[in-house]
Symmetry: C2
Subunit: 182 residues, 2 copies
């Protein structure tokens, strides 16, 4: 078991309305097997989509995308790349905003994220950008018609990671996550 | 999605008695979410053991060890290393014996194994050797008192991989598995 480092939780968020992509800040979040209860990404399984092209679209598969974690450093770089003042984690539908780990989006598949309250996450690796956040950004910067198209390119390798719940527990703002190798 | 190669299923096996480590050959196996119904490793979750030292022993965690796959080439190398005629997959409690992929045990965490019947497995990476198979081997080669102690060392990086069910389906002897990157 290799200790890779630590990272701090700055915000916890959940997308509590099934058909709304944007997440909302919370005080704390209970992680259970399958994800965050009531979150639009909750579930042991999901239907295969464009990111799971190895399976026929719409078939039931294991849900490796239960939780989304983005780094503040990456959001700052995306904002610079797009030429906008800020990119907020809720616009990307993120569940955790974190800070303090180098090159967060490249965290290895299979790395374990260990929270002080006992919860654990298993990294499913990089979250490849799709168009949804770009469309949300376009609503916030209506004078920038090109932003939705640019987002996918600028956010590549900066979109954070997705993860599965490996052990249940509560996550709070300010938690220090220990990260260990797979 | 990177195509990594193919590998052939030579045997399918299940350990159908909860307290018996050894697996038994079957004609075919139905993979469902959680593993193989009735197999001793079946379940969405498991209790943390020696291999999951990042969690307190005995706590409930995600089961990444639903299925065990060993390569015939690796078993041949283990047999040579131990100086015995053969090492059988059932002695290692394996579920699938496969052949035809280079350095099988080093298959990347997150690789997808796609079966012709529709099933899919997600690689959890290398299965680190424990003492159980060595103790089974010692029963089959009673004149080799050292074999249980030697097994862990000789089988390192040759013990195959463990995996989770990513999509349900049936697996049959002779199936060609397509392997794609994560």
């Amino acid at each position: 078991m290799t200790i890779l480092g630590t990272i701090t939780v700055l915000s916890v968020l959940s997308a509590t309305t099934p058909d709304v992509f944007i997440s909302q800040p919370m005080d704390q979040i209970a992680l259970v097997f399958g994800g965050i209860v009531g979150d639009r990404h909750f579930g042991w399984t999901k239907t295969a989509g464009v990111r799971e092209g190895q399976y026929p679209r719409g078939t039931e598969i294991l849900n490796r995308r239960q939780i989304s974690l983005v780094a503040e450093e990456d959001l700052e770089r995306i904002a610079v790349g797009l030429g906008v003042p800020t990119v907020r984690p809720e616009w990307l539908g993120a569940n955790f905003l974190v800070r303090g780990f180098p090159d967060w989006t490249r965290l290895a598949v299979g790395a374990h994220l260990l929270f002080p309250g006992g919860a654990g996450l298993l990294s499913s690796g990089e979250n490849r950008p799709c168009r949804h956040p770009g469309e949300v950004l376009a609503q916030h910067y209506p004078d920038r018609r090109d932003i939705a198209a640019c987002f996918v390119r600028v956010a590549d390798h900066r979109r954070g990671i997705v993860a599965m719940v490996e052990r249940e527990g509560t996550v709070r703002v300010g938690d220090e996550i220990r990260i260990v190798g797979g």
